[in-house]
Amino acid sequence: MTILLILVPLALMLGGLGLAAFLWALRNGQYEDLEGAAMRVLSDDDLPP
């Protein structure tokens, strides 16, 4: 069962990374305009003509 000493912290760390990513996205305003983001994906003006 000593494998738990590695696996449990690993699982928690991965989960924690996900949580941190979500909180970062929230703070960064990624959830302010969900419909707009779906539209912007179609825009290609960042490509050279």
Binding site: A11, F22, D33, E35, M39
Partner: protein, 748 residues
């Protein structure tokens, strides 16, 4: 644009000196609009950021202070075909709500993260308990769970803990009190049990409870935020602008919200007066139907007092803006509003009523359980553990979701039926009404005037008159202009002050205006006698003549809606500030037996108080400033979106569009939602009747608690989804068949 647009009052500054402001933009429909707007604005010198928020239909722009005139942005967008309206800085409530939504989402994220990891450990323990887990491993898993849950619950439980403390301070009970108590006791007991190397700990129950409840609360908040931002956009689109006369004599266009007392504004014929004030010079007739409900215009000479929202008919006025003073109509109405709001017996929401019954029952049940087991000879420790298990399993997960889940879904259904909910408990109150009272002007009738030609006018004359009317600013002429199918005004049409408008068409003079202006006084007199409530406008072009009646037009489905309300067993009445003949004609046309005319605001309140004393729950539907106190005093209230600001603030919900159907839809959807809420509460009670005996008997293991809590929450949520189905009674109003058929179909 000849006049400068001054938006300086909307510009906000950031600490680093950059200026920014928000616009509500009309016409954003697809990805192309986002691109077009942002690309066009990025070319402006000085602009540092332009970002469209598609969900909110808003535009956020930033620029280096002094480097750009925001009026350029409005002008550039107008050139692209988008109308931008500045967003008032006082809309702070929305910022607060947005911050709260982010907070709830953060809490939910933390709780969900913890719950997922705990479940991993808990499932291992449950599986291990029936097979070969060693006590050491189980303890390790329990401690690990505690380590994750305790900080997570301390963070994610804050919305509930704070609300519970607030309620206790106010010496009342809300749903958050038993929730907080349940969570705290579950956590404490689990820590104690873990320290004692026990088989069961309830860390998973506590955190799962928080996840479900936070999800419900976030949805509830998101629903309210959506309607609020929609309503805020609408009010920005409708925000009046004023022509301010500067000290230099120049005229600049400013939003009415930016006017200060002492400013002078110019109001041209056909414009709505943007502010309360005194007429300095000029003379005109003013239609104050939005304020008093009266349709006949009154004369406003210099020195006369005028109110925001009234319509200037015939002449240009200069008005000195003044702050609301004592003794004015507005002041009187505001006093009545305060009175009505304090007198209104505070409605106790269904959920709070349930909480008041629920909490004492559950808590005494837990105490009785402890006493019972101690008397039965168990150790105090075992007795207390069983009692806490009762509290955990009865923790009102389903009960707390029962009402908000239905509210969220019903608000969505109302939104689709063109209703914006303003008050959270409005659904319950609208469901309870047993009488509907309408204001006449602007509520049963359309806010704009409608016109019709008297018999005998040739179609060619009507078309010509309507085209000629396009050249006039007079509101009566604009009603006639609505009949025009060719929207190009005649060249060289000339407006004659106080008389009408004339133009030379194919070498022949055509005139539209007062009957004396067109030599049609006899015909006008006949038309006036037949329809005393209408204004008469005459038209002459050579031998061709026409007489138009311009009057308030009923909403297209007003009669159908009133019939269907009556068919539902709801008596209907009309309370109007307008004169008796106009109200009688309207009541007769709609088949309403009970009506009162020339009512002052306090008389409306008194009438409502009488009905209340008879035990009736009245829904008031009104739009005028004079209706606002009655809207506040009624059991429930609705306003059209065109209503005066004061009335909108007092109403429980606003309806959009020119149809009256949302009034009937509101009652149907609210009644349906109310019955679903009651079903859900009943289910929560039944759930407790099953779960509590198990817990009292000491059989509620964490596994059973987890299954029971999530199961009941899901059932309640699924049941709530039924509120979005369209009520069957609504369909006849949509397709609008003949009124007589509607009466039969609409039987409840």
């Amino acid at each position: 644009m000849a006049e400068a647009l001054d938006l300086s009052s909307f510009v906000r500054r950031r600490d680093d000196g950059a200026a920014w402001m928000d616009f509500a933009v009309e016409g954003i429909v697809d990805a192309g609009s986002i691109r077009a707007i942002e690309a066009a604005l990025c070319k402006l010198a000085g602009l540092t950021k332009a970002r469209v928020n598609f969900s909110a239909r808003r535009l956020h722009v930033e620029w280096t202070a002094g480097g750009l005139d925001p009026a350029r942005i409005v002008a550039d967008l107008a050139a692209l075909g988008y109308r931008a309206h500045p967003f008032a800085p006082q809309a702070r409530e929305e910022d607060i709500e947005a911050a709260q939504a982010r907070w709830l989402l953060r809490c939910l994220a933390v709780a969900a993260f913890a719950a997922m990891n705990i479940m991993l450990l808990s499932v291992s323990i449950w599986a291990g308990n029936v097979s070969d887990i060693t006590p050491e491993t189980r303890d390790f898993f329990h401690w690990l769970s505690g380590l994750i849950v305790l900080p997570a619950a301390a963070f994610a439980g804050q919305p509930f803990f704070r609300s519970a403390i607030r309620a206790l301070r106010a010496r009342s009970l809300n749903m958050d009190v038993p929730i907080s108590l349940g969570v705290l006791l579950a956590l404490t007991m689990s820590v104690v049990e873990t320290a004692r190397h026990a088989e069961h700990a309830y860390f998973d129950s506590a955190i799962m409870l928080l996840v479900f409840l936070l999800a419900g609360r976030y949805l509830d908040q998101a629903m309210r935020r959506k309607t609020r931002s929609y309503a805020a956009n609408l009010s920005a689109l409708r925000a009046p602008v004023a022509a301010r006369v500067e000290a230099s004599g120049e005229i600049s266009t400013v939003p009415a919200a930016a006017l200060k007392a002492g400013d002078t504004v110019l109001v041209r014929p056909g414009e709505r007066i943007p502010v309360d004030g005194l007429v300095i010079d000029g003379c005109s007739e003013i239609d104050q139907s939005l304020v008093t409900g009266e349709t006949a215009p009154y004369a406003a000479p210099a020195g006369c007092e005028v109110f925001a929202g009234t319509l200037n008919f015939s002449g240009a006025l200069r008005i000195s803006v003044r702050a609301a003073g004592a003794g004015t109509l507005l002041d009187e109405i505001e006093k009545l509003m305060d009175g009505a709001l304090t007198q209104k017996t505070r409605y106790l929401r269904l959920a709070d009523r349930a909480a008041r019954l629920y909490a004492p029952v559950v808590h005494s049940m837990a105490i009785l359980t402890a006493i019972f087991w101690m008397l039965a000879g168990r150790s105090p420790h075992d007795a207390i553990i069983t009692a806490i298990a009762v509290l955990i399993i009865t923790c009102p997960c389903a009960l707390a979701l029962a009402v908000p889940a239905v509210q969220v879904v019903a608000a969505g259904a109302l939104f689709r039926a063109k209703l914006l909910l303003a008050a959270g408990d409005a659904i319950e109150r609208i469901a309870g009404v047993d009488m509907v009272v309408f204001d006449k002007t602007g509520t049963l009738t359309l806010p704009e005037l409608g016109s019709e030609a008297a018999d005998g006018a040739s179609p060619a004359a009507i078309r010509c008159a309507a085209r000629l009317a396009l050249s006039s600013h007079h509101p009566l002429a604009q009603a006639i202009a609505a009949l025009a199918d060719d929207r190009t005004p005649f060249n060289a049409a000339e407006e004659v002050a106080g008389a009408g408008v004339r133009a030379i068409i194919d070498g022949e003079e055509a005139r539209l205006g007062a009957p004396s202006f067109c030599d049609l006084e006899a015909e006008a007199l006949a038309a006036r006698q037949a329809h005393p409530e209408a204004s008469v406008i005459a038209f002459r072009r050579g031998v061709e003549t026409a007489v138009f009646r311009v009057r308030q037009k009923l909403r297209p489905d007003a009669r159908a809606v009133i019939l269907s309300l009556q068919a539902r067993g709801l008596p209907v009445a009309i309370l109007s500030g307008d004169a008796a003949p106009a109200v009688r004609a309207c009541a007769e046309a709609l088949g309403v037996g009970e009506w009162r005319a020339a009512m002052r605001p306090q008389e409306k309140i008194a009438w409502l108080a009488e009905r209340k004393a008879e035990g009736r729950k009245v829904m008031m539907v009104g739009d005028g400033m004079n209706d606002a106190p009655a809207l506040a005093a009624a059991h429930a209230s609705l306003s059209p979106i065109t209503a005066s600001g004061l009335a909108q603030a007092a109403a429980d919900a606003l309806f959009l569009g020119e149809r009256l159907a949302p009034v009937a839809a509101a009652i149907d959807i609210a009644r349906r939602a109310n019955s679903l809420m009651r079903q859900n509460l009943l289910f929560a009670v039944v759930y407790n009747l099953v779960a509590v005996p198990l817990a009292v008997a000491g059989l509620a293991t964490p596994l059973i608690a987890a299954a029971a809590m999530s199961g009941s929450s899901i059932v309640v949520t699924l049941n709530a989804l039924r509120a979005s189905r369209e009520p069957k009674q609504l369909s006849p109003l949509r397709t609008a068949p003949a009124p007589a058929r509607r009466l039969n179909e609409a039987t409840p």
